[in-house]
Assembly symmetry: C2
């Protein structure tokens, strides 16, 4: 089935490409999706890479309970206000009504901090640097696969430190790890900076964000890193003896990123024919299609194909040979293009006789005839090229959507109608910030530039540049 | 703190070693535990190994929702009877009462099969071989860390096949994979066979089990593999067009193993000093303790230690150097023995002068002086030795607990008072099986031997040998 027009109907294209490429499917529970093997394999690749970096930066994985006593959420005032409206609540269990309802974790700060308070007794227990890979539930009224789902997967880092400086450095470090992941692994350029007071994590002192810009000009918040400071430590009575023997509260951070990343990969790189997966997140990096012919012995062809595959697997390239006899080569091209496989080799008996093979990359879709002897070298260099090219294309797109505007009156209408990124000045007054809602926009992050004299909304001086956009 | 006597008070020893070695901690939610980094690292090693085998045997990972409509559970009569008493139920979400309550998955057959019914349309969609790594909730009245917890982690495989034979081969294959994992990775010998009709999975035709025997003579069911057959396919209207164009129901299997495996590792291998981890599941396989001396320069010592560590890491050995200056060597020995690290190197300035180093394995605890040049070779061979030796020790223990008895009157009292494994004959009548409850025992599995003429309980002929034991 042909995909909806990606330019005219981006939202439908997104939904359809997910179903047709078998990344995910709607589940019979409100707002929930099944992540199918192809989609889950992408998540496994992202998770393995990030997990490696999380461990290399000195964190350890652990597992905290799914269920949290309702009262825990209430210990930190901002926190409960932020999360109470979207939690799922267990009221019966084991055939009985529970004395205290349990919420399914919408995030784990409260239960993690309850345990931290048990574990952190002395400065020698610090820093404590924990991460967990978990499922999260937040009741979602407008679900969209990967981007907004009632249940989603993420990692959440939780750390405790002796000094404020150390906790700030930690939150910044992990934020930078995320940005690297986006750039060098997902091939996605991001805008990154602090959130405003209104948009920060409920209970945090500061929140760093990194956001990708979709082709329709809307931002996707890819993840956040929070300087939690001491508010929660006080709420959970988390005290330790410092080097001088005094009782102190540790400084906390938390940081997380989610299966949303998959949604961003789909949107940022895809085209009219379907997905385009950057090689680093592609479960299959190369598909080999032997062009079988009727009436001849196809065995020699298959043998060559298998030799090539074995050779490439030696180089840790993820290869799949499509030998399905019920499908035409054309149908196979269509299918693997839909699935966004970065490279394709086509081998016919005729080319084989000449010692040649056709290679096609998913970005240009141009067919190139190469020597069989050069396959390995060519595949390795084309994989790197596709990864790089997708990033550069996304970077160009991001730049083309970036406008500098002095006043909301100059960009409000365009923001609402066409999306886009608007760099402008802000006085830091939440009332001006709220004005953006009328145009379906919000401040995605603060920038470290100061190019504008006046606030985008009022007559006051601008204190900081901000980026304004619509968001998913 | 000294551990409780492992011989006299095994249950207390188990609980204490888990807390003291920091494997897990009690959570503030009934029956739930936090898996701490050291315990979670063991799970990560087991999971990586099993995941590799699951993929190599042609299965793909996916993710199905945590929440299941209550009505789904009721579609298969035996299934709901089996699980309804222990589910946790979400009745409120997003600030509203739900029209239909949702249960937190106690297992995922129902929701997986709902999706399978959408996906399986033709024989070409078969076999469908899916696995998921997930958290499970079953309300637990008598929790025990790792062995019985309200929330636990597992993998659950779900497959659909064209023929009964194929599905039977699948269930057997994965059961054998589990048994291999127990033997060669966890170092645990198991008893393995079919469950009785009463003890099989609710809704399955047959259930294969594999069970380990603890030093106190009780069995731990480590995992199961089920021939589900067609009952669920019918309940979920899962029909496909076969090769002849007729509508058919596929044959299903499911199979799973859990974080219980960690509990079995702790119990089977541990001793009075704490854990003993088989090298393959040990997050740290070797700890190096430089013996610092006051008043001299310890730098050369540290340099040698770091060189050794680097060399061993090259061989993919998991090494930790304990340079803590606030602890005596004795305190370090105590700590790493409690944590069950298979090997320890101790390097003093005096030994270094002579080009020697002390190596100690966690099983014998004998100190052996070896040449520095031989460290790598010695470590590799000792790691293999510890793995093998732990298995053989457990095998011997299992054999020593295995009795052959004709009549319940001969072994009932011993079963109740001392535990142990009793091979006996059974007429296949559930009434005789139920008689075992009076002695706190049950049939753990059927055997493929037939050594007894009469049923252990009644005067009828024995149809099959069975193994009887108490269980966790």
């Amino acid at each position: 089935m042909v995909l909806p027009d990606i330019k005219k109907n981006f939202a439908d294209w997104y939904q359809e490409v997910i179903y047709q490429a078998e990344l995910a499917d709607q589940a019979p529970v409100r707002g929930c999706f099944v992540i199918r093997p192809y989609g889950y394999a992408i998540w496994e690749l992202i998770r393995a890479e990030l997990d490696r970096r999380i461990k290399e930066t000195g964190h350890q994985n652990a597992a905290f309970p799914l269920l949290i006593p309702e009262s825990f959420l209430k210990r930190e005032a901002e926190h409960v206000e932020g999360f109470a409206p979207e939690v799922a609540v267990v009221t019966y269990a084991g055939g009985k009504k529970l004395e205290e309802p349990l919420v399914i974790r919408p995030t784990s700060e409260t239960i993690v901090y309850y345990m931290f308070a048990k574990w952190i007794k002395s400065w020698r227990d610090l820093p404590l640097k924990i991460n967990q890979w978990a499922n999260i539930v937040r009741w979602e009224m407008r679900p969209r696969a990967f981007l907004r789902t009632t249940e989603f997967f993420w990692q959440e880092g939780h750390t405790a430190h002796e000094t404020k400086e150390e906790s700030e450095a930690e939150a910044e470090l992990m934020w930078k790890e995320y940005i690297n992941l986006a750039y060098y692994f997902l091939g996605i350029p991001v805008i990154a900076g602090l959130k405003t007071e209104q948009e920060k994590f409920p209970g945090a002192e500061k929140t760093y964000t990194f956001e990708a810009i979709m082709p329709d000009g809307k931002a996707v918040q890819m993840g956040t890193s929070h300087i939690i400071s001491q508010s929660f430590a006080k709420a959970f009575n988390m005290q330790y003896q410092d080097r001088e023997g005094n009782l102190r509260y540790p400084y906390l951070t938390s940081w997380g990123t989610t299966t949303r990343l998959i949604g961003a990969v789909i949107m940022v790189h895809g085209d009219q024919k379907g997905l385009i997966l950057p090689p680093k997140v592609a479960p299959i990096q190369l598909v080999i299609i032997p062009i079988f012919k009727k009436g001849i012995d196809n065995k020699p062809l298959l043998e060559v194909v298998e030799t090539i595959a074995a050779q490439l697997k030696q180089q840790n390239i993820r290869v799949y040979i499509d030998t399905d006899k019920h499908k035409t080569p054309g149908a196979k091209f269509y299918w693997w293009e839909l699935k966004g496989v970065p490279l394709r080799l086509e081998l016919s008996a005729r080319d084989l006789e000449k010692g040649e093979i056709v290679i096609v990359d998913r970005v240009t879709l141009e067919k190139k005839l190469i020597q069989l002897a050069q396959v390995e070298q060519e595949v390795i260099s084309l994989l790197a090229m596709v990864q790089q090219c997708l990033f550069m294309r996304a970077q160009k797109k991001l730049e083309s959507l970036w406008y500098k505007k002095e006043k909301l009156t100059n960009f409000g209408r365009a923001l609402r109608e066409k999306g886009g990124l608007y760099q402008t000045g802000w006085c830091k007054n939440p009332e001006c910030e709220n004005k953006l809602k009328e145009y379906q926009g919000s401040i995605r992050c603060l920038l470290d530039t100061h190019e504008f004299e006046q606030c985008f909304n009022c007559d006051k001086k601008s204190v900081v540049d901000v980026l304004v956009a619509k968001s998913y």
